[in-house]
């Protein structure tokens, strides 16, 4: 069953308190981030219904928001999601080659997840790191000035971290 810990519920309460009384729906985006981080990196219908119940809004109000914003995953994703920027300035600096290299190295196409469930490759539109191109988002942080060597290093770093956590 989907349920936040007591600690997370306290955080939920703190977030809702930022808005005027009766405007708790404003907490929807922050709560969806919290839920996605907590419940396996994606938002299942069950998770979204749970968030709706916390905010006392209709589930449809959550679904329509979750499907609008590109950062919310409405399908399961790998443990490590590579989101490579492909817009204008990154393209000028070779992002297409980086995307192709990751695809070839991991043996997956854009939008796919490796069979071991470790990696998902996605493309992203401008992430605001144009001066540090090519780049990608990996979890909370950016990986910038990407080269093939750097990509290799990031992949092995992820594999090592995953092995250590098991």
């Amino acid at each position: 069953m989907v349920q936040f810990s007591e600690e997370k519920l306290a955080k939920v309460k703190e977030i809702i308190a930022r808005y005027p009384d009766g405007k708790q729906k404003s907490a929807l985006l922050p709560l969806l981030h919290l839920a996605q981080d907590n419940f396996g990196g994606w938002l299942s219908a069950e998770t979204m219904d749970y968030v709706a119940s916390l905010l006392q809004i209709e589930p449809i109000e959550v679904y329509e928001v979750a499907t609008f914003y590109s950062m919310y995953n409405t399908k399961p994703v790998g443990k490590y999601v590579f989101e490579v920027c492909q817009t204008g300035p990154c393209m000028l600096n070779g992002s297409d080659n980086i995307i192709a290299y990751i695809s070839q190295t991991l043996g997956i196409k854009v939008g796919e997840t490796t069979a071991d469930g470790l990696f998902t490759l996605k493309t992203a539109e401008c992430l605001g790191a144009c001066g540090y191109a090519p780049m990608m988002q990996l979890g909370k942080h950016y990986r910038e000035h990407l080269t093939k060597d750097k990509v290799d290093a990031i992949i092995s770093e992820c594999r090592t971290a995953a092995a250590a956590n098991n």
Binding site: K25, L28, L29, I57, S70, Y72, G88, E125, G128, G131
Partner: protein
């Protein structure tokens, strides 16, 4: 005399002057370096109206892209009895080529917090929100730490500096949507909804977040309030030229030796900005300049010959007036300051396709011309890029963009149209070459062609 004054202000830094001081991210160092003086001055010695007046006098223009006078925007806020007002900081920086606000927030977050406190006081906002793009996921921690430090030192919270003014600042993360940089979409998003822009009027200054009077300002705009209050609006207005007052952050990227964020005083030339070692440091590998998008992906792309000089043959400067000199026929815009340089090896068709794909992805889908038109432009551009296009496709593109522009609720439609229109306007022969030399276009780029040739100026 005029010359001497210009020299005095040359290279003047107001926002990033202290950005490299070690530990400036933290309150103690920031305060030691003179931080939070503007809060003391504003809250203890100035009325709300006096602050708005200083900002008006400064000539500060919105730094998010539209360039609307900030003081005037503040002056519009409605003050109905008993209704709370809100200041919202737009940190949804998403215009391709733009990464200046990120730099400010990451390296000198207290400057933004300081500006926010002064602006909140001027506007009467007791609860102020920073709406930051969701992908900048590590920055809310930096901002929240700065907020906590400011609060612990009496600059935020209840009864700030004993003046009776209460203010809280909250950080709200978006979740990946360029459209939320548009102020009414941002407000919708802050209310926990899809980022669909609202029809204006009513403007946010009358009915904004939760139906309350709201001012939405860009990060850089709010940071600029600090030097304006410290030095006075008139002093601030002495920097720069014409209606381009103060300093502007430029985020430079693309094919240049030194990509990064630079603070300029808007008196330097575009040529100096690209080639001087103080700024972009020229183009890598000795390549030649082909084109540039000087103000973020939405503004018109210019070929090298129109970028460095205006159609009248004058030196083009890095400021609002000079960059837009010649209108859309031969000029561009300052926009958000996202400066994208293309060298001779870049393909304008491919670049335009990449931007069209971006706008298709980011269209919220509310207005048909934008929802349908952006997808259509992307498809036609991909066809041309892949050597499968027809000459009539170029006219089709022109037709589509002209039917999106001006026919949508928010400016995203215009933003999607302008790059396509400008690319065809100035690089039509490159598009045609992709049709007439379809096979060759798959193996090499059109190159520099005549795009850097001097332009004949009739005397």
């Amino acid at each position: 005399m005029a010359k001497a004054m210009q020299l005095n202000t040359m290279g003047r830094k107001l926002l990033l002057e202290k950005a490299h001081v070690e530990g400036i991210r933290y309150f103690d160092v920031y305060r030691r370096e003179g931080g939070y003086r503007s809060v003391e001055k504003a809250l203890k010695t100035m009325t709300q109206e006096e602050i708005v007046e200083e900002v008006k006098k400064s000539g500060l223009r919105g730094r998010g892209g539209a360039g609307f006078p900030a003081g005037m925007k503040w002056g519009f806020i409605a003050k109905p009895e008993g209704v709370p007002r809100h200041l919202v900081c737009n940190a949804d920086e998403s215009e391709p080529g733009t990464f200046k606000d990120r730099y400010l927030m990451e390296f000198i977050p207290h400057l933004l917090i300081e500006g926010l406190i002064v602006a909140s006081y001027a506007l009467g906002s007791n609860a102020t929100y920073i709406y930051i793009r969701g992908e900048y996921a590590w920055i809310p921690d930096i901002l929240e730490q700065a907020i906590a430090e400011a609060k612990a030192n009496g600059f935020l919270g209840k009864n700030i500096l004993g003046t009776g003014f209460d203010c809280e600042i909250y950080v709200q993360r978006g979740a990946g949507a360029y459209i939320c940089g548009e102020e009414t979409a941002l407000i919708e998003s802050l209310e926990g909804k899809r980022g669909n822009p609202r029809i204006k009027p009513p403007f946010p200054a009358i009915k904004g977040v939760w139906g309350r009077p709201t001012v939405v300002n860009n990060v850089e705009t709010l940071a600029a309030v600090v030097p304006i209050i410290n030095e006075g609006g008139e002093e601030y207005a002495k920097i720069g030229v014409g209606k381009s007052t103060g300093t502007k952050l430029i985020s430079a990227c693309g094919n240049i030796n030194k990509p990064g964020v630079y603070e300029i005083d808007m008196t330097i030339s575009v040529e100096e900005f690209i080639y001087s070692d103080e700024y972009c440091g020229g183009i890598p590998n000795g390549k030649r300049l082909k084109a540039c998008i000087p103000g973020g992906s939405s503004v018109p792309i210019l070929p090298a010959n129109l970028l460095l000089k205006t159609a009248k043959g004058e030196t083009r400067l890095m400021n609002y007036e000079s960059l837009s000199d010649g209108g859309f026929a031969t000029g561009s815009m300052m926009g958000s300051g996202g400066f994208i340089v293309l060298d001779e090896d870049q393909c304008v068709v491919r670049n335009t396709y990449s931007l069209a794909r971006f706008y298709r992805h980011e269209s919220c889908g509310q207005c048909s011309p934008c929802r349908e038109g952006t997808g259509w432009m992307e498809k036609v551009l991909l066809r041309l890029e892949n050597g499968e296009g027809k000459i009539s496709d170029i006219d089709l593109l022109w037709d589509i963009q002209s039917k999106i522009e001006g026919n949508t609720i928010c400016p995203l439609g215009d933003a999607a149209s302008w790059p396509v229109a400008a690319a065809i306007r100035h690089f039509r022969d490159e598009f045609e070459w992709h049709v007439t030399h379809a096979a060759e276009a798959q193996t090499r780029n059109f190159g520099l062609a005549h795009y850097a040739d001097p332009i004949y100026v009739p005397v």
